[in-house]
Protein backbone atom coordinates (compact mmCIF):
# COMPACT_ATOMS: atom_id res chain seq x y z
CA UNK A 1 0.00 0.00 0.00
CA UNK A 2 1.46 3.39 -1.00
CA UNK A 3 1.43 6.41 1.29
CA UNK A 4 -1.19 8.12 -0.89
CA UNK A 5 -3.59 5.29 -0.10
CA UNK A 6 -2.96 5.43 3.65
CA UNK A 7 -3.20 9.19 3.98
CA UNK A 8 -6.08 11.17 2.46
CA UNK A 9 -5.08 13.97 0.04
CA UNK A 10 -5.52 16.78 2.57
CA UNK A 11 -2.77 15.29 4.75
CA UNK A 12 -0.23 15.35 1.91
CA UNK A 13 -1.22 18.73 0.51
CA UNK A 14 1.01 21.76 1.03
CA UNK A 15 -1.11 24.31 2.87
CA UNK A 16 -1.11 27.85 1.45
CA UNK A 17 -2.52 29.43 4.63
CA UNK A 18 0.38 28.12 6.71
CA UNK A 19 2.94 29.92 4.51
CA UNK A 20 4.04 33.44 5.43
CA UNK A 21 3.48 36.35 3.03
CA UNK A 22 6.82 35.95 1.21
CA UNK A 23 6.56 32.16 0.82
CA UNK A 24 2.99 32.53 -0.48
CA UNK A 25 4.15 34.96 -3.17
CA UNK A 26 7.13 32.80 -4.17
CA UNK A 27 4.99 29.65 -4.43
CA UNK A 28 3.04 31.14 -7.36
CA UNK A 29 5.92 31.69 -9.80
CA UNK A 30 7.45 29.49 -12.45
CA UNK A 31 10.63 27.98 -11.06
CA UNK A 32 13.63 30.32 -11.02
CA UNK A 33 11.79 33.42 -12.33
CA UNK A 34 10.93 35.16 -9.04
CA UNK A 35 12.78 38.35 -8.12
CA UNK A 36 11.87 40.43 -5.08
CA UNK A 37 11.68 44.22 -5.48
CA UNK A 38 12.40 46.56 -2.53
CA UNK A 39 13.09 43.66 -0.17
CA UNK A 40 13.78 43.77 3.58
CA UNK A 41 17.50 44.55 3.13
CA UNK A 42 16.55 47.78 1.30
CA UNK A 43 15.08 48.79 4.67
CA UNK A 44 12.24 50.88 3.34
CA UNK A 45 10.17 50.79 6.49
CA UNK A 46 7.49 52.87 8.17
CA UNK A 47 8.88 56.10 9.67
CA UNK A 48 5.65 56.54 11.69
CA UNK A 49 5.51 53.37 13.80
CA UNK A 50 8.71 53.93 15.88
CA UNK A 51 7.51 57.44 16.83
CA UNK A 52 4.47 55.75 18.36
CA UNK A 53 6.48 53.07 20.16
CA UNK A 54 5.71 50.27 17.71
CA UNK A 55 8.52 48.19 16.19
CA UNK A 56 8.53 48.51 12.38
CA UNK A 57 9.21 45.70 9.90
CA UNK A 58 11.99 45.99 7.31
CA UNK A 59 9.60 45.36 4.37
CA UNK A 60 6.63 47.15 6.03
CA UNK A 61 4.62 43.95 5.67
CA UNK A 62 4.35 44.31 1.89
CA UNK A 63 6.24 41.88 -0.35
CA UNK A 64 6.57 42.64 -4.07
CA UNK A 65 7.89 39.91 -6.36
CA UNK A 66 8.19 40.04 -10.14
CA UNK A 67 8.49 37.01 -12.38
CA UNK A 68 6.57 34.68 -14.66
CA UNK A 69 3.37 32.76 -14.00
CA UNK A 70 2.54 30.12 -16.59
CA UNK A 71 5.19 31.70 -18.84
CA UNK A 72 3.56 35.17 -18.71
CA UNK A 73 4.97 38.25 -16.95
CA UNK A 74 3.35 38.91 -13.58
CA UNK A 75 3.89 40.78 -10.35
CA UNK A 76 2.70 39.43 -7.00
CA UNK A 77 2.00 41.85 -4.14
CA UNK A 78 1.59 40.02 -0.86
CA UNK A 79 0.52 41.50 2.48
CA UNK A 80 1.93 39.82 5.61
CA UNK A 81 -1.09 39.35 7.83
CA UNK A 82 1.01 38.67 10.94
CA UNK A 83 2.56 42.18 10.93
CA UNK A 84 0.09 44.80 12.21
CA UNK A 85 -2.81 42.75 10.82
CA UNK A 86 -1.57 43.24 7.25
CA UNK A 87 -2.57 46.88 7.50
CA UNK A 88 -1.75 49.44 4.82
CA UNK A 89 0.53 52.33 5.77
CA UNK A 90 2.39 54.93 3.77
CA UNK A 91 5.25 52.62 2.75
CA UNK A 92 3.31 49.41 2.08
CA UNK A 93 0.71 51.42 0.13
CA UNK A 94 3.41 53.12 -1.95
CA UNK A 95 5.01 49.74 -2.71
CA UNK A 96 1.67 48.37 -3.91
CA UNK A 97 0.90 51.42 -6.04
CA UNK A 98 4.38 51.55 -7.59
CA UNK A 99 4.27 47.83 -8.44
CA UNK A 100 0.84 48.17 -10.07
CA UNK A 101 1.91 51.29 -12.00
CA UNK A 102 5.06 49.58 -13.30
CA UNK A 103 2.88 46.67 -14.47
CA UNK A 104 0.61 49.17 -16.24
CA UNK A 105 3.58 50.86 -17.90
CA UNK A 106 4.93 47.51 -19.11
CA UNK A 107 1.46 46.51 -20.31
CA UNK A 108 1.05 49.75 -22.27
CA UNK A 109 4.32 49.15 -24.10
CA UNK A 110 3.24 45.69 -25.18
CA UNK A 111 4.50 43.49 -22.32
CA UNK A 112 1.20 42.60 -20.68
CA UNK A 113 1.90 42.12 -16.97
CA UNK A 114 -0.75 40.63 -14.69
CA UNK A 115 -0.93 41.54 -11.01
CA UNK A 116 -1.77 39.13 -8.20
CA UNK A 117 -2.76 40.63 -4.85
CA UNK A 118 -2.49 38.35 -1.83
CA UNK A 119 -4.64 40.26 0.63
CA UNK A 120 -4.54 39.40 4.33
CA UNK A 121 -5.46 42.73 5.78
CA UNK A 122 -7.75 44.70 8.03
CA UNK A 123 -7.39 47.76 5.77
CA UNK A 124 -5.85 51.10 6.74
CA UNK A 125 -3.15 51.07 9.44
CA UNK A 126 -4.64 53.15 12.24
CA UNK A 127 -1.22 54.54 13.29
CA UNK A 128 -0.85 56.07 9.80
CA UNK A 129 -4.52 56.88 9.32
CA UNK A 130 -4.67 59.60 6.66
CA UNK A 131 -1.66 58.32 4.73
CA UNK A 132 -3.21 54.85 4.73
CA UNK A 133 -6.51 56.19 3.41
CA UNK A 134 -4.67 58.07 0.66
CA UNK A 135 -2.74 54.88 -0.14
CA UNK A 136 -5.98 52.90 -0.57
CA UNK A 137 -7.28 55.51 -3.04
CA UNK A 138 -4.02 55.30 -5.00
CA UNK A 139 -4.03 51.49 -5.02
CA UNK A 140 -7.61 51.41 -6.33
CA UNK A 141 -6.88 53.94 -9.04
CA UNK A 142 -3.78 51.97 -10.06
CA UNK A 143 -5.82 48.74 -10.25
CA UNK A 144 -8.39 50.49 -12.48
CA UNK A 145 -5.57 51.62 -14.80
CA UNK A 146 -3.97 48.16 -14.99
CA UNK A 147 -7.10 46.03 -15.38
CA UNK A 148 -7.80 47.53 -18.83
CA UNK A 149 -4.63 45.82 -20.09
CA UNK A 150 -4.02 42.79 -17.89
CA UNK A 151 -5.92 40.88 -15.20
CA UNK A 152 -5.67 41.90 -11.55
CA UNK A 153 -6.26 38.77 -9.47
CA UNK A 154 -7.01 39.01 -5.77
CA UNK A 155 -6.48 36.00 -3.52
CA UNK A 156 -7.95 35.94 -0.02
CA UNK A 157 -6.71 32.73 1.56
CA UNK A 158 -7.10 33.46 5.29
CA UNK A 159 -6.94 33.43 8.12
CA UNK A 160 -6.83 37.23 8.57
CA UNK A 161 -9.25 37.84 5.70
CA UNK A 162 -9.67 41.04 3.74
CA UNK A 163 -11.55 43.95 5.23
CA UNK A 164 -11.78 47.74 5.21
CA UNK A 165 -10.35 49.76 2.36
CA UNK A 166 -8.53 46.79 0.87
CA UNK A 167 -11.85 44.97 0.38
CA UNK A 168 -12.58 47.73 -2.14
CA UNK A 169 -9.36 46.79 -3.93
CA UNK A 170 -10.65 43.20 -4.03
CA UNK A 171 -13.97 44.54 -5.34
CA UNK A 172 -12.39 46.27 -8.35
CA UNK A 173 -10.13 43.31 -9.21
CA UNK A 174 -10.71 41.27 -12.35
CA UNK A 175 -10.98 38.01 -10.42
CA UNK A 176 -11.22 37.04 -6.75
CA UNK A 177 -10.04 33.65 -5.49
CA UNK A 178 -10.97 32.53 -1.97
CA UNK A 179 -10.68 29.50 0.30
CA UNK A 180 -13.51 28.51 2.60
CA UNK A 181 -11.39 29.63 5.58
CA UNK A 182 -11.13 33.17 4.16
CA UNK A 183 -13.40 36.13 4.85
CA UNK A 184 -14.06 39.18 2.70
CA UNK A 185 -16.14 42.19 3.69
CA UNK A 186 -16.11 45.98 3.88
CA UNK A 187 -16.69 46.15 7.64
CA UNK A 188 -15.31 43.44 9.87
CA UNK A 189 -17.67 41.70 12.32
CA UNK A 190 -16.44 43.62 15.38
CA UNK A 191 -16.86 46.94 13.60
CA UNK A 192 -20.45 46.12 12.63
CA UNK A 193 -21.26 45.01 16.17
CA UNK A 194 -19.67 48.12 17.64
CA UNK A 195 -21.45 50.50 15.27
CA UNK A 196 -24.88 48.88 14.94
CA UNK A 197 -25.25 46.74 18.05
CA UNK A 198 -25.14 43.04 18.82
CA UNK A 199 -28.68 42.53 17.46
CA UNK A 200 -27.41 43.55 14.04
CA UNK A 201 -24.30 41.36 14.09
CA UNK A 202 -22.89 39.16 16.84
CA UNK A 203 -19.10 39.22 16.36
CA UNK A 204 -18.63 36.19 18.64
CA UNK A 205 -20.88 34.03 16.43
CA UNK A 206 -18.36 32.38 14.11
CA UNK A 207 -20.97 30.43 12.13
CA UNK A 208 -22.82 33.69 11.41
CA UNK A 209 -19.59 35.46 10.37
CA UNK A 210 -18.60 32.75 7.91
CA UNK A 211 -22.17 32.51 6.58
CA UNK A 212 -21.93 36.22 5.64
CA UNK A 213 -18.21 36.94 4.99
CA UNK A 214 -16.88 33.43 4.31
CA UNK A 215 -15.42 32.23 1.02
CA UNK A 216 -18.24 29.79 0.31
CA UNK A 217 -20.86 32.52 0.63
CA UNK A 218 -18.85 35.11 -1.34
CA UNK A 219 -18.38 32.70 -4.23
CA UNK A 220 -21.97 31.49 -3.78
CA UNK A 221 -23.46 34.97 -4.37
CA UNK A 222 -20.99 35.76 -7.15
CA UNK A 223 -18.89 38.32 -5.25
CA UNK A 224 -15.86 36.09 -5.77
CA UNK A 225 -15.03 33.85 -8.71
CA UNK A 226 -13.37 30.70 -7.43
CA UNK A 227 -13.51 28.67 -4.23
CA UNK A 228 -10.24 26.79 -3.93
CA UNK A 229 -9.05 24.34 -1.31
CA UNK A 230 -6.21 25.47 1.00
CA UNK A 231 -3.57 23.84 -1.20
CA UNK A 232 -0.63 25.83 -2.61
CA UNK A 233 -0.66 23.93 -5.92
CA UNK A 234 -4.43 24.32 -6.43
CA UNK A 235 -4.29 28.05 -5.67
CA UNK A 236 -1.31 28.51 -8.02
CA UNK A 237 -3.13 26.62 -10.76
CA UNK A 238 -6.30 28.77 -10.35
CA UNK A 239 -4.13 31.89 -10.66
CA UNK A 240 -2.33 30.54 -13.76
CA UNK A 241 -5.74 30.03 -15.33
CA UNK A 242 -6.81 33.63 -14.72
CA UNK A 243 -3.43 35.06 -15.84
CA UNK A 244 -3.83 33.16 -19.11
CA UNK A 245 -7.50 34.18 -19.51
CA UNK A 246 -6.68 37.90 -19.43
CA UNK A 247 -9.11 40.56 -18.16
CA UNK A 248 -12.86 39.75 -18.35
CA UNK A 249 -14.98 41.58 -20.97
CA UNK A 250 -16.86 43.31 -18.15
CA UNK A 251 -15.50 43.67 -14.62
CA UNK A 252 -17.74 42.92 -11.65
CA UNK A 253 -17.50 46.51 -10.44
CA UNK A 254 -18.78 47.75 -13.83
CA UNK A 255 -22.07 45.87 -13.46
CA UNK A 256 -23.83 48.82 -11.88
CA UNK A 257 -27.29 48.20 -13.34
CA UNK A 258 -27.25 44.52 -12.39
CA UNK A 259 -26.40 45.33 -8.79
CA UNK A 260 -28.90 48.21 -8.53
CA UNK A 261 -31.65 45.92 -9.82
CA UNK A 262 -30.63 43.17 -7.39
CA UNK A 263 -30.81 45.47 -4.40
CA UNK A 264 -34.07 47.04 -5.56
CA UNK A 265 -35.63 43.57 -5.90
CA UNK A 266 -34.71 42.47 -2.36
CA UNK A 267 -37.62 41.92 -0.01
CA UNK A 268 -36.46 43.31 3.33
CA UNK A 269 -39.73 42.68 5.16
CA UNK A 270 -38.29 39.36 6.30
CA UNK A 271 -34.72 38.39 7.24
CA UNK A 272 -32.74 37.50 4.12
CA UNK A 273 -30.82 34.27 4.57
CA UNK A 274 -27.44 33.51 2.95
CA UNK A 275 -28.56 30.40 1.05
CA UNK A 276 -31.54 31.98 -0.70
CA UNK A 277 -29.37 34.95 -1.67
CA UNK A 278 -26.99 32.56 -3.47
CA UNK A 279 -29.92 31.18 -5.47
CA UNK A 280 -31.44 34.56 -6.23
CA UNK A 281 -28.26 36.36 -7.27
CA UNK A 282 -26.15 33.65 -8.77
CA UNK A 283 -28.44 30.71 -9.50
CA UNK A 284 -26.14 28.89 -7.09
CA UNK A 285 -27.59 25.85 -5.33
CA UNK A 286 -24.66 25.10 -2.98
CA UNK A 287 -25.30 25.16 0.74
CA UNK A 288 -21.76 24.83 2.17
CA UNK A 289 -20.56 27.18 4.89
CA UNK A 290 -24.02 28.33 6.01
CA UNK A 291 -26.07 26.91 8.83
Amino acid sequence: MSTSEIFPAFVNRKSFIELDGRARARSLFDEGTAKELVGPFDRVQSPWLPIQGVAPQADDGCIVIKGKIGGLPAVVISLEGAFQGGSIGEVSGAKMTAALDLATRDSETGKKTAAVLLLETGGVRLQEANLGLAAIAEVISSILALRRHAPVITVVAGTVGCFGGMSLAAGVSSYVVMTKEARLGLNGPEVIEQESGIDEFDASDRALIWAIHGGEQRVGIGEADALVEDDAEKIASAIRGYVQAGPPSEHRSEQVKLNRDRIAALDTSTQIDPISLRKKWNGNTTTGGAR
Binding site: P40, A55, P56, Q57, E80, A82
Partner: protein, 98 residues
Protein backbone atom coordinates in the same frame (compact mmCIF):
# COMPACT_ATOMS: atom_id res chain seq x y z
CA UNK B 1 10.14 51.19 22.48
CA UNK B 2 13.84 50.60 23.16
CA UNK B 3 16.99 50.53 21.07
CA UNK B 4 19.71 48.09 22.22
CA UNK B 5 23.19 47.60 20.71
CA UNK B 6 25.84 44.93 21.35
CA UNK B 7 29.30 44.26 19.90
CA UNK B 8 31.04 40.89 19.73
CA UNK B 9 34.56 41.68 18.41
CA UNK B 10 35.72 38.03 18.80
CA UNK B 11 33.33 36.79 16.07
CA UNK B 12 35.68 37.13 13.08
CA UNK B 13 34.79 34.33 10.64
CA UNK B 14 34.04 35.88 7.23
CA UNK B 15 30.48 35.36 5.98
CA UNK B 16 29.17 35.87 2.45
CA UNK B 17 25.41 35.28 2.59
CA UNK B 18 22.41 37.17 3.95
CA UNK B 19 19.45 35.79 5.85
CA UNK B 20 16.01 37.21 6.53
CA UNK B 21 13.66 35.29 8.82
CA UNK B 22 10.67 35.90 11.05
CA UNK B 23 7.91 38.46 11.27
CA UNK B 24 7.22 41.37 13.64
CA UNK B 25 4.03 39.77 14.95
CA UNK B 26 2.94 39.38 18.57
CA UNK B 27 5.49 37.23 20.45
CA UNK B 28 7.76 37.05 17.42
CA UNK B 29 10.47 39.10 15.70
CA UNK B 30 12.33 39.50 12.43
CA UNK B 31 16.08 39.02 11.94
CA UNK B 32 18.16 40.59 9.20
CA UNK B 33 21.57 38.93 9.21
CA UNK B 34 24.27 40.01 6.76
CA UNK B 35 28.08 39.97 6.50
CA UNK B 36 29.66 42.71 8.63
CA UNK B 37 31.95 45.17 6.92
CA UNK B 38 34.82 45.27 9.42
CA UNK B 39 35.96 42.89 12.13
CA UNK B 40 33.56 41.35 14.62
CA UNK B 41 29.82 41.08 14.94
CA UNK B 42 27.37 43.85 15.68
CA UNK B 43 23.83 43.49 17.01
CA UNK B 44 21.15 46.18 16.82
CA UNK B 45 17.74 45.56 18.40
CA UNK B 46 14.55 47.59 18.17
CA UNK B 47 12.02 46.20 20.62
CA UNK B 48 8.53 47.36 21.55
CA UNK B 49 8.96 45.89 25.05
CA UNK B 50 11.10 48.00 27.41
CA UNK B 51 13.39 46.93 30.25
CA UNK B 52 14.81 43.59 29.05
CA UNK B 53 18.36 44.64 28.12
CA UNK B 54 19.88 42.03 30.47
CA UNK B 55 17.84 39.20 28.96
CA UNK B 56 18.88 40.26 25.44
CA UNK B 57 22.53 40.36 26.58
CA UNK B 58 22.26 36.84 28.06
CA UNK B 59 20.70 35.45 24.87
CA UNK B 60 23.40 36.97 22.64
CA UNK B 61 26.26 35.96 24.96
CA UNK B 62 25.02 32.39 24.67
CA UNK B 63 24.49 32.69 20.88
CA UNK B 64 28.03 34.05 20.28
CA UNK B 65 29.56 31.41 22.56
CA UNK B 66 28.75 28.92 19.75
CA UNK B 67 28.65 31.09 16.64
CA UNK B 68 31.72 32.98 15.42
CA UNK B 69 30.53 34.59 12.16
CA UNK B 70 31.31 38.30 11.56
CA UNK B 71 27.72 39.38 10.97
CA UNK B 72 25.59 42.47 11.30
CA UNK B 73 22.34 41.50 12.98
CA UNK B 74 19.31 43.75 13.01
CA UNK B 75 16.23 42.74 14.97
CA UNK B 76 12.76 44.22 15.05
CA UNK B 77 10.99 42.66 17.99
CA UNK B 78 7.34 42.49 19.04
CA UNK B 79 7.82 40.67 22.33
CA UNK B 80 9.59 37.41 21.40
CA UNK B 81 10.56 35.28 24.42
CA UNK B 82 14.28 34.42 24.88
CA UNK B 83 13.53 30.93 23.55
CA UNK B 84 11.96 32.24 20.35
CA UNK B 85 14.83 34.71 19.93
CA UNK B 86 17.40 31.90 19.97
CA UNK B 87 15.31 29.80 17.57
CA UNK B 88 14.99 32.71 15.12
CA UNK B 89 18.76 33.33 15.34
CA UNK B 90 19.51 29.64 14.72
CA UNK B 91 17.10 29.68 11.79
CA UNK B 92 18.97 32.66 10.29
CA UNK B 93 22.32 30.89 10.80
CA UNK B 94 20.92 27.84 9.02
CA UNK B 95 20.18 30.05 6.00
CA UNK B 96 23.56 31.80 5.83
CA UNK B 97 25.60 28.64 6.46
CA UNK B 98 23.87 26.75 3.63
Amino acid sequence: MEQIEFDYPAAKRRMTKKAYVGVVGSGDMEVLMEPAGGDGAHVSITTSVNGFQDSWKAVFDRFFSKFDGAVKIQINDAGATPGSVLLRLEQAVEVIEQ
